[in-house]
Every structure is written in C-alpha cells, then in structure tokens.
Amino acid sequence: MLKVSDLHAFYGKSHILQGVNFNVAEGEIVSLLGRNGVGRSTTVKTIMGEVEPHGSIQFKGNEIAGKKSFEIAHLGLGYVPENRDIFPTLTVRQNLTLGMKTNTPQGRWNIDEMFSMFPNLAERADVQGGALSGGEQQMLCMCRTLMGDPDMIMIDEPTEGLAPKIVEQLANLLQEIANRGVSILLVEQKLSIALKISNRLYVMGHGKIVYEGTPESLLQADDVKAEWLEV
C-alpha cells in the first residue's frame, strides 16, 4: 500500500529525515514510535506533501513524492494531523461534509454511520466544532478524514491529552477502520495503544528507522525501549 524509501526532509538547513525506509501493507495497522523531535510527524507531513520530500514515496504503486496534498488525498491517502485542526466556526455536520471529496458520500462511510458510532457527535451535530471537548474533536477529525473514503490513513498522536476512556474508544475505532480494509499508519509516543492494536511497529530515532518488529518482539527488546522510547 505505502512504501517509503530513503526519504529525506529538511526544515531550512536542518536535516530532519535522514533516509527513512518503511512500508505498510493493505489492511495493516503499523505504528511509528519514538520520542518527541525524532521526525515522526515530519515523516507523515512529508508523505502528505506538506514538507518537500527527497526520496521515494510509493502509494498503491504510484510515486507521490512531489505531488500536492489534495492530489495525494484523491489517490486515497487520508491524514489526521496532530493538532486536530477541526474548523472551529463550522458545525460538526459541516466539518464532516468537508471531508467528502464529492457532493455525496461514497464508499465505506457516511454521516449517519459516523453519528451511530459516536452518539456524542450526533447529539452535537449542529454545535460549532470549537465548542467540542478535546476527545470529541479528535473523533470528529478522524470521522472527517474517513468521510473521504481513504484506503489508508495516517494518524498523528491521536491520544495526546485524552482521558483513558476516550483512548479506549479510539482504539476500538481504529480496529473498526482496519476491519473495513483501511490501512493505518499510527504515529504515537505512547506504547500502550500501539502495542494493543498494531500488526507491526517501527521505532524512529535521529531521523531514521532504528527498529522494526512486532508488538511481541518489541515488548522483549528492553534495549530498544531503553535507548529509543523511555523518557
């Protein structure tokens, strides 16, 4: 589904990504772990075209490095940014409408289904997005991206600042998304959710992938956890 090869990215003169290699297969949940500042968010921003890429990014067999964000989205790659970026003056329903790439919902998801999955959002359908709680905003942001019927979504730090109960709800949603054949690249700092739902994991350090394995193998790799993950 997604294959990233020798990906480099720069912020000004700072060399942030220094040859990142990884892949995500169809229907797979893959987590990208690492401490703050190692380049995880830059990786997904570069894949999405927000940061200029140097290297190869293949999505469903198409080279997408250098394409514009909206073109990448149209190919079926969705992105849920770290800061959530819901539109605060638009209502919940309008936020969801914006996720659709055409006037009518197509594919796996529709608004009614989103509302049945998240009754909180249904109750606040006509409330402005800015008035929602952090957890509700995160759910809205995920649902909005799903409304575009992506074949794969990249989610940056979805559990940041959320209560444990909401994190649990989020993990269930991610599982449901994967069950419908959507691949997931989960960018996380917290090990718990990544270990629970991922098929495979990558650990990043100093702008590179420093470990690749399964949740089971990472649990036993104490040296990797100590060097690259523990704070």
């Binding site: 999405m48 927000e50 909206f70 989205a73 539109f87 003056t89 638009l90 909005r144 991206t145």
Partner: protein, 316 residues
Amino acid sequence: MLEVFIFATLNGLVTGFLLFMLASGLTLIFSMMGVLNFAHASFYMLGAYFAYSLSLYFGFWTGLIFAPLIVGTLGALVERYGLRKVHASGHVAELVFTFGLAFLIEESIQFFWGRDTKNYQTPDLLDFPLFTLFGQEFSAYRGFMMAISIGIFIALYYVLTKSRVGIIIQAAITHPQTVSNLGHNVPLIFMGVFGVGTALAGLAGVIAGPVLTTFPGMATVLGSIVFVIVIIGGLGSLAGAFIASLLIGLLQSYAIASDVGMPDLLSLLGISFDRGHPLNDLWTMNLPQIAPVLPYLLLVLVLIFRPTGLLGKREE
C-alpha cells in the same frame, strides 16, 4: 421633511448595496490571500467599459450578462498567472503587483476607449419612474440597481453559508493546508473566489456606469471608499463589509440631502461672523459640502476607537 428622509434612505441603500458588491469581493480576497487588491476598483471600471461597448452593438442586457463574465475571467487569469506567482515573494510584492495592475488597467482603458466620458445609457426598458412619492420620482433603474444588489447579497450569503462550496471556502480561508489534505484543490478555490470577486466588481461597474458616469477616473472615485469600507467593517469580515457599506451609503446620502450647515450650528450658539472674516468659507460650510469627506472621517474615528474595525478580529 419625510419625503427627503425617504428618498435619502432609498438612495443611500442603492449606494450602500452597490458599495457592498465591490467590498464583498475585496474583503473575501483579503481573507484568503492576506493582500489588499489595489486593482479591485479597476475591475469595476473594466465592467462599466466592457458593458458600454457591448451595449453599443448588442444592447444593455447583453452587457449586463457578459461584461461581468469577461471581467471575472480576466480576474481569474490575473490570479492564476500573476498573483499566484508573485505570492511566493511575500505580501509587499503582491501589493506592488496589484498597484501596478491598477495603473495598467487605467492606462489601457484610456488607450482603447479614450479619456472622455462615455455615453453609457440606462436601458429604455427601465427609463420610467418606478413610483412617485410627495411629487418626487424614484427611477425604475435605481430600483433595478437595488434589486440586483440585494439579489447578489442573498445569493452570496446563501452560497457562503449554506452550500458545500461555501463551507469549503470558509474553511480554506482559515485552514488552507487542512482543506487541501482533505482532497480539495485550494489554489483552484482561491482562483475561483478571485474570479467571482472581480466579476462582482465588474457587475457593480455595469449597473453603476450609466448612473455614476463611465470615465477613466471612476475607479479612483469609488476605489478609495471601498478600501475605507473594508477597514471600517473589519478586514476580512463579510458581515462587517455589509454593515459598513450600508452605513457609508446612508451617511453620505443623508448628508447630501440635509440642509444643515455651520451657520445653523453657530446661530444656535449665538455666534456670528462677518462675511469678510478670513475663515468665512469654514463658517459657512454645510453638510452636503462635506458629505464626500464623511467616510474618511468615520474611518479616522473607527481607527481611533476600534482599530480592528466593526466586526474585525485582532490577529492572534
């Protein structure tokens, strides 16, 4: 007195709605690109001239339809091949670009149409009084101007707040990257809004041309007032532009219609001056004389007491 008030109100509303047609495009373009388009009123002038030329061969109504379309297409091309390229060099470059474009359009108009005032006439179909009140006539053409302007206002309101396109535009103004990540072509949206904004300016020129006269200085006359409106309303605020347009339209209209002046004020205070006084011109000044200055006076007051404008937001 009542008839003066009614007609001043009607004329003020006609002017106010006309100003809003110009100000809405200008403030929308500012919201999206963060740049004040100095050439905006030039598109208004182009609308009047294109409509004048079309009306000579095909009649007023053809000009009414096609002139705004031509101006809108020109505006979209200016954004695509001009502003978008200059954008990378920052806002100063954009300002200089639009400033230069205003000169280019004015000079081109003088080159192709000449410096004289054009005999752009109201259509025969609307050349009758719509109604007569207290012995005064209100022309059908002014009623038509008001109907077109209100129609445009309602359509703009509906499109921007109720339609999917409007929702995408609203979101693209504040979160362009997020909107792009959702699969919407933001540069195309910006080009479209620039095109529609300039087309509205062109339409304002088409309907104002026969009443406010079509001459190469018409952009200068209205251009500065439109800038005053978007600043008074709050830069980037469409609702603010609407309120400010009506406020200035009505203010100027009431001032022109009023019969009040400094002598009245001074006599109330029991002060009088000789005709030979060096400042006689000042003491005898009346409100209709200072009507053209009132928008600028209001601008100064707004800048002193509410620098963000009536509905503008302070930048975080």
